[in-house]
């Protein structure tokens, strides 16, 4: 069986410890050091960012403490700030976006990797990658001009009549709201899922597919039960990319979400997200507590991302099988 580790041993005699100098003369140690520095700089940048945000927001921590997470009031005039509606909105819109984008994106990636002839696959991929280049402002405008009327006139009433008994689909259909924001976000994150998933699916060794087919599975079975699980880690990586994009999107979301800090079970309701409120109010925020509360919201988003990533990784760990794709997430 192939080695399960991807790290190569250093070239040179595999005896006991060699002197640092002799290891240094080996290009490998330098390569290791240099690449380590680059990797470490990523961590350092992230830590610096968190540090800067922390340093820039002492007042709300001092005044509200943990109540910041529980309160729903956002009042810049009377200096009352609470993060709960924004946390809720961020979670809801990102969830809707992933629920739509992951099956669609994965399906498209499977088609491009398994079924489409190479030239067609490359050409289509080429165009799908362009979706990532559309400015978020344009996504917002298209959301306003196309998605919102569609939602208001057809989709939302349709959902209401079919599933209106669920609290998810109740309330007046304005067209803007959680659902619309989720749909727009889904379109924005789909290229990341398709692009990365397709590449990792393509990289699955042919013998895996052939083994499955030779055992009598249909094309779909070999794809769903062998190829996709083999590429599972890479696909999950693409979902992380998509999730992060959805959590941090500002422009497009703020144009279609309704910008109302309320918590509602209905997807038709207008809402607000952390990134949207920071983008909307930061340039005009005057007053230290106000400004610092916005910055603290940025920190809250960091925490949210941290927790969500942690949960997802836990999920991967728990469902991990032996002998499948290598590497931890």
């Amino acid at each position: 069986m192939a080695l399960t580790s991807t790290t190569l041993p250093s070239a040179g005699p595999v005896t006991g410890s060699r002197s640092f100098v002799s290891r240094l003369r080996d290009g490998d140690e330098i390569a290791r050091l240099v690449t380590f520095l680059f990797a470490a700089s990523v961590v350092l940048i992230t830590l610096l960012l968190v540090f800067e945000l922390w340093q820039a927001s002492p007042l709300p921590r001092h005044k509200f403490g943990f109540a910041f997470f529980r309160t729903s009031v956002w009042d810049p005039i009377f200096d009352q700030f609470g993060a709960l509606p924004f946390i809720y909105g961020t979670l809801v819109t990102s969830s809707v976006a992933l629920v739509i984008a992951v099956p669609l994106g994965l399906g498209a990636a499977i088609f491009l990797a398994e079924l489409a002839p190479p030239k067609l696959s490359d050409t289509l991929e080429f165009f799908i990658d362009l979706l990532a280049a559309v400015p978020s402002v344009i996504y917002g405008l298209l959301g306003v001009f196309i998605v919102v009327p569609l939602m208001r006139q057809y989709v939302q009433p349709g959902l209401k009549s079919a599933f209106g008994f669920l609290p998810l689909f109740q309330g007046p259909a304005y067209g803007i709201g959680f659902l619309t924001a989720g749909v727009v976000l889904a379109i924005m994150v789909i290229p990341y899922i398709i692009s990365v998933s397709r590449e990792v699916l393509l990289a699955v060794p042919r013998d895996q597919r052939e083994a499955a087919l030779s055992l009598g599975s249909t094309r779909w079975e070999s794809t769903a039960k062998v190829v996709v699980p083999f590429a599972r880690v890479g696909i999950l990586g693409s979902i992380f990319l998509a999730l992060a994009r959805a959590l941090g999107e500002t422009m497009a979301v703020t144009m279609v979400i309704g910008n109302t800090p309320i918590i509602s079970a209905s997807l038709f309701s207008p809402g607000y997200s952390i990134a949207a409120v920071i983008a909307n109010e930061f340039t005009e925020a005057t007053g230290d507590l106000y400004l610092q509360s916005l910055i603290e919201l940025g920190l809250v988003l960091f925490l949210l991302t941290f927790v969500l990533n942690g949960l997802a990784r836990l999920l991967i760990l728990v469902t991990s099988q032996r002998g499948s794709a290598r590497g931890a997430a």
Binding site: P76, I77, V148, P149, M255, N259, N280, E284, A285, T286
Partner: protein, 342 residues
């Protein structure tokens, strides 16, 4: 690898253009509302003074105040005057003060979309406050229907919209509501962002216009030019003299005239609900924020030259872009104040 390197070097060599000698560049930041006007002015002034480039970017009134205080731009612009704390912060940081110069006037209008109603509705201050407080929820409420006899208002729920982003337009609107409604003043207050009792938030004047246009039975507040260029109906507002005035450039200028008598020397004044029969009650100045001292004499002269030009020839460009010009009294006062910039 070599191919990549050559391409990169070629791009790097090409990209920075040679610095044009003798050009003076000045940067300014601030309000979005007057951006079209300022860009027209700075372009015209550049045509007349080719060696001077004044670059203005609209990052928001708050952004303008912050950046001019930080010193990253040479001047600022704001739809709402700097308050005392901000002035003090500027003074503390720089050791000298900053002056406000009104440039043009804007008007904020209540726009609505009621299926079947084409007429221009008349709004009393009480009605507007009650709608935005969430106390009046239906279009056929007596507060709205009262001054609009003869208009068939439906019994539908009002969909209130407001600005989501911090904005000078919100400042003007809430400033007006504070003056006409004690309950608004105590419950909500005035500012570029407030805790709205009801309503959906649209992003930018465009966002509110779009939401109102597409949502039946809605009401919103936008700058006059947005209502005009989008062809959406907007209502008349009762001014402090009891006359229902439809927003217009003349009405805004009249409001400023009315307020000119009481105008403080630093021009930081609110002209909402101004006296005068023809005054439109929801009008406002927008200001340039110019430091009293410039370390660079060339920049100082350039700024002073521009402001003088703006007060004279510049005012002739305002109406074509749907901005109201400054009244004569204010112009005269500003010309005198210009001497304070050293």
């Amino acid at each position: 690898m070599k191919r990549i390197a050559t391409i990169l070097l070629w791009l790097l060599g090409l990209a920075p253009f040679t610095h044009a000698q003798g050009t003076l560049s000045i940067n300014g930041a601030g309000a979005t509302f007057p951006y079209p006007m300022y860009s027209k002015w700075f372009d015209e002034y550049h045509k007349q003074n080719p060696n001077l480039q004044i670059n203005y970017q609209s990052i928001g009134s708050g952004g303008g105040i912050k950046q001019v205080t930080e010193g990253t731009v040479d001047f600022g612009a704001s739809d709402g005057p700097m308050n005392d704390d901000q002035l003090k912060a500027y003074q503390d940081k720089h050791g000298f003060g900053i002056l406000h110069f009104p440039t043009v006037l804007g008007a904020v209008v209540p726009t609505y979309n009621i299926p079947g109603v084409d007429a221009s509705l008349k709004f009393t201050p009480e009605a507007l406050a009650a709608i935005y407080l969430g106390k009046v929820t239906k279009w056929n409420d007596p507060l709205i229907a009262g001054p609009n006899k003869g208009v068939n208002l439906p019994a539908t729920d009002i969909v209130v919209t407001h600005r989501a982003d911090g904005s000078g337009t919100t400042y003007i609107w809430t400033d007006y509501l504070c003056k006409v409604s004690d309950e608004w003043k105590n419950k909500v207050g005035k500012g570029t962002s407030v805790n709205w009792p009801v309503g959906l938030g649209g992003k930018g004047n465009e966002g509110v216009t779009g939401t109102v246009k597409n949502t039946p039975n809605s009401i919103g507040y936008v700058e006059l030019i947005y209502a005009q260029s989008n062809g959406i109906p907007f209502g008349e507002v009762k001014n402090s003299s009891g006359v229902f005035v439809k927003a217009s450039l003349a009405g805004a200028t009249a409001a400023a005239s009315g307020a000119a008598k009481e105008m403080p020397d630093d021009f930081r004044v609110s002209i909402t609900n101004a006296p005068g029969k023809t005054a439109y009650p929801i009008s406002s100045f927008t200001w340039l924020l110019i430091p009293t001292k410039f370390s660079d004499a060339a920049k100082r002269d350039a700024m002073k030259g521009f402001v003088a030009w703006m007060l004279a020839e510049g005012q002739n460009y305002t109406e074509a872009l749907a901005y109201a010009r400054l009244p004569k009294e204010v112009v005269a006062k500003e010309k005198k104040a210009l001497a304070n910039v050293q």
